[in-house]
Amino acid sequence: MTAQPPATERQGRPGLGRGLGWIGRALLLLALVTFVIMLCAPRVRGQEVSAAPPGANAELDAQVRKLSAELRCPVCQGLSLADSPSELSQEMKNVVRAQLESGKSPDEVKAYFVGRYGEWILLEPKPHGWNLLVYALPLLLVLAGLAGVFFLARRWTLAGAGGHVAESQSAPDVIGTPGAGSRE
């Protein structure tokens, strides 16, 4: 007897059954086995998982992540420590962690970095002095834009209303002009 694919494959999924062959099926099986092994395998080095039991350092990890996102990477352009892969950022994150572990509050850790790098190190500047411009200017510009739109719209509306009056007054003349009414 000649080997034929099962009837279900022939009828239900003809493309998949014929296309695979025994090599394809073996590869599929291998892929499935690999996938199952990967699911069962423990996490290995290189992944960001602390050696401590889950929950013990979760709060500290969250604090380190939050603070790292608020501090600027000194050797990057506009990146936070959290987003930067640079070695200095890694070391700075280690400092953040070490200081939090030693009992310092997040504000004290921030104050340490501000003392070393100035307020520049904060991605979000403190709202005082000239820094207020950063917060106020966008709002002022939006307000100015809205005011501009409002005044322009009002002018156009008034001009439009005036135009209608003029049009209705001059309408008979327009219709009366030769050639204006006929569009053939």
Binding site: P74, V75, E91, M92, R116, Y117, G118
Partner: protein, 198 residues
């Protein structure tokens, strides 16, 4: 009516253009340091290059030269701290100036120390040999803790500490002989120089 429009456009546009123009005059890579005028962050770092040209040349490994330098122990002297690395091009540019000024003030209450940043002592030793030696000690900064303490954002960076233990001056980029002598002399004559030196 045209004058009115022009005035409104000028009132809105000129400050914006002035602000953008001001932005162009500033280098975003230069970070103003808050350290000048403040107490210099203390450190105790291991010496990997002792600062003697002969011994650097004969030493086979960096670990054979273990010793520690503590900044607090140098109080009363002018201390020049130079952060450097063997991969840093600017460090090669300023090396001769540092060595020359260190020689000039040898034994006169002025101490030079190099602090290695993001580099290995072995590579650094090779670099020192290639540059013809270094007449002041270089220290190893594990985990860049001292670099971060000094608000470092690149190399080379040089800090000049006064006899009172305060940071008198910070310079980012290669230093020149003239600049070093000028700052050191100002500290030696008045024992303090203006804080806004950077």
């Amino acid at each position: 009516m045209n004058w009115k429009h022009a005035t409104i456009a000028a009132a809105a546009g000129v400050p914006l253009i002035a602000l953008l123009g001001f932005g162009l005059t500033r280098d975003p890579k230069i970070i103003p340091s808050p350290l000048p005028g403040r107490d210099a962050p203390d450190f105790a770092l291991r010496v990997f290059a002792p600062g003697d040209t002969a011994s650097v040349a004969t030493a086979t490994t960096a670990s054979a030269l273990a010793d520690t330098i503590r900044l607090a122990a140098l109080r009363g002297e002018v201390v020049v701290i130079n952060f450097w690395a063997s991969w840093c091009a600017g460090c090669g540019v300023e090396h001769e100036a540092l060595v020359s000024v260190a020689r000039r003030y040898d034994g006169q209450g002025v101490r030079f120390v190099g602090v290695l940043y993001n580099d290995t002592p072995d590579l650094a030793m090779r670099w020192i040999r290639r540059m013809g030696g270094q007449n002041y000690p270089s220290l190893q900064d594990e985990g860049s803790r001292t670099a971060i303490d000094y608000g470092l954002y690149g190399v080379p960076e040089t800090f000049i500490i006064g006899p009172d233990g305060r940071v008198a001056y910070k310079h980012a980029g290669p230093v020149t002989e003239q600049l070093l002598i000028e700052k050191i002399e100002a500290l030696r004559t008045s024992s303090t120089i203006p804080a806004a030196g950077s």
